[in-house]
C-alpha cells in the first residue's frame, strides 16, 4: 500500500470534515495537515462553508408525509386482496383450459346438427310424409333445438358443464327430423366461432 500523498489528503478533507474516514486514514490525513499550513487553511475554509450552509429553515415533515403515496404492500391490499387475485387467476386459467374442450363439443354438436339438417333437406327432396311432420312439429319438440342454437352461439355455453354438453350432444343425436330453420343455426354457429 502506497503512502498517502498531499493530493490524496487534500481530496479527503471533506471526508475528514464529515467523519467518514477510517481511523488509519484519518490519522494519516491529520499528520499531513499538521505539516502543511495551506491544507490546514483549506480545512478551516471547508468548516466555514459547511457551517454557513447549516443554518437553514427547518422542514415541515408532516406536510411531506401527508402527500407520500402508501407503501406498495398497502396499495396491493386495497386494490387487489390476495383472495380476489387468486380467484381472478383461477378464473383466467379456467377460461383458457375450458375453452378448447367446450368448442370441441360444440363443434361436434354443430356437425351433428348439420347432418340432421342435411337429412331434412334430403328427405324434403324425397318429398316423404315424414318431412312434413317434422317441419310442422309442435313447439315442444323444437325446444331442445332452440336451446342448441342458443348454446352454440356464445357466452351461455360457458355456464354449462361438459356433462351437460354431452347430454345435449346425445339429445341432438337422438333427433330424427329437424325443422327447416335448423340450417340457419349453423350459419350463426360458424359466425360465432369465427368471431
Amino acid at each position: 500500500m502506497r503512502d498517502m500523498t498531499r493530493a490524496d489528503a487534500q481530496d479527503l478533507l471533506p471526508d475528514l470534515l464529515h467523519g467518514r474516514l477510517s481511523d488509519g486514514a484519518r490519522a494519516e490525513v491529520e499528520r499531513i495537515i499538521a505539516s502543511d499550513p495551506e491544507l490546514a487553511a483549506e480545512l478551516s475554509l471547508l468548516q466555514r462553508v459547511r457551517a454557513a450552509h447549516a443554518a437553514l429553515p427547518t422542514v415541515d415533515m408532516s406536510r411531506i408525509l401527508a402527500v407520500l403515496p402508501p407503501s406498495p404492500a398497502q396499495g396491493r391490499v386495497i386494490t387487489a386482496p390476495p383472495a380476489v387475485a387468486q380467484v381472478d387467476e383461477l378464473a383466467a386459467r379456467r377460461t383458457v383450459t375450458r375453452a378448447p374442450r367446450i368448442f370441441g363439443v360444440v363443434r361436434a354438436a354443430a356437425v351433428l346438427v348439420l347432418l340432421g339438417g342435411g337429412a331434412v333437406i334430403a328427405r324434403r327432396d324425397m318429398r316423404t310424409p315424414d318431412v312434413r311432420v317434422a317441419s310442422s312439429a309442435p313447439a315442444e319438440s323444437l325446444a331442445p333445438i332452440a336451446d342448441t342454437v342458443q348454446l352454440g352461439l356464445g357466452a351461455p355455453t360457458d355456464d354449462l358443464t361438459v356433462d351437460q354438453l354431452r347430454a345435449l350432444e346425445q339429445d341432438i343425436q337422438a333427433l330424427d327430423g329437424v325443422p327447416s330453420a335448423e340450417p340457419d343455426a349453423m350459419t350463426n354457429l360458424a359466425d360465432g366461432e369465427g368471431a
Binding site: 471526508d15 454557513a52 422542514v59 406536510r63 407503501s71 406498495p72 404492500a73 398497502q74
Partner: protein, 196 residues
C-alpha cells in the same frame, strides 16, 4: 410522534449499520407495508435535501421541491435497485426538479439563453445582493453562489453533505474524475473570492 418501541427499534437499526444499509433496511420495511419507515426516511434526508435545494437557488420555497422529491422517490421506491445510495438518488431527483423548474421559468420568461437560466440557478438574488465586508457566513455563501451551476452542485454535495465523488457523479450526471475536477476548481474559486 413515533411510538417509543418503534423508535427504539429504529435507533438500534441506525446504530447497527452505515447510512446506506439503514436506508436499504427502511426501504424493505416500507415496501413490506411499514408506513412508519417512510417517516424515518423523510426525517433522515429532508434536512440535507432542503439544504441542497436551497443552495441551488430556487425562486420558491425549497420545501416544495423537497416535498416533490419525496413524492417522486416514494412513488418509485419499490423499483429502487440500490445501485447508488438512497441519499444520492434523492439528491439526483431534487436536482432534476430544480432544473425542470428553472427551464419552465425560463420558458415563461422566454428568450433568455439556457446558460443564463442556469446561472440564475446558482445565484439567488438575496445572496448576491448581500455583499458584506468581512468573511461572515453570508460572504461564504456568496462565494459559493458565484460558482457555476455544476461547480456549485458538486461543491455543496461534497463539502456540505459529505457525498463521495462516486455519489456526486451519479447526482450530477458526470464522472467521478470530472466531479473531482469540478470540486477542486470550485475550491480555488471560493478561496480566491474570500481572499480578494
Amino acid at each position: 410522534m413515533l411510538p417509543s418501541a418503534y423508535q427504539t427499534e429504529m435507533t438500534d437499526l441506525i446504530r447497527a449499520g452505515d447510512d446506506a444499509e439503514i436506508d436499504r433496511a427502511l426501504i424493505v420495511r416500507w415496501n413490506g407495508g411499514d408506513q412508519r419507515a417512510a417517516s424515518v426516511l423523510v426525517e433522515r434526508h429532508a434536512q440535507s435535501l432542503t439544504r441542497f435545494v436551497a443552495s441551488l437557488g430556487v425562486p420558491q420555497a425549497p420545501d416544495e421541491i423537497v416535498q416533490d422529491t419525496f413524492v417522486k422517490a416514494f412513488g418509485s421506491l419499490e423499483s429502487f435497485r440500490g445501485e447508488s445510495s438512497l441519499r444520492a438518488w434523492l439528491f439526483t431527483i431534487a436536482r432534476r426538479l430544480v432544473l425542470d423548474q428553472r427551464r419552465s421559468a425560463h420558458r415563461m420568461r422566454s428568450h433568455v439563453p439556457l446558460e443564463d437560466a442556469q446561472s440564475d440557478l446558482i445565484a439567488p438574488d438575496d445572496v448576491l445582493d448581500g455583499v458584506v465586508a468581512d468573511e461572515s457566513a453570508e460572504r461564504v455563501r456568496d462565494a459559493v453562489a458565484r460558482l457555476s451551476a455544476t461547480q456549485r452542485a458538486v461543491f455543496t454535495l461534497r463539502v456540505v453533505e459529505g457525498l463521495s465523488y462516486k455519489e456526486i457523479a451519479a447526482v450530477a450526471s458526470t464522472t467521478e474524475g470530472a466531479a473531482r475536477v469540478h470540486y477542486h476548481n470550485a475550491m480555488r474559486s471560493v478561496r480566491a473570492y474570500l481572499d480578494a
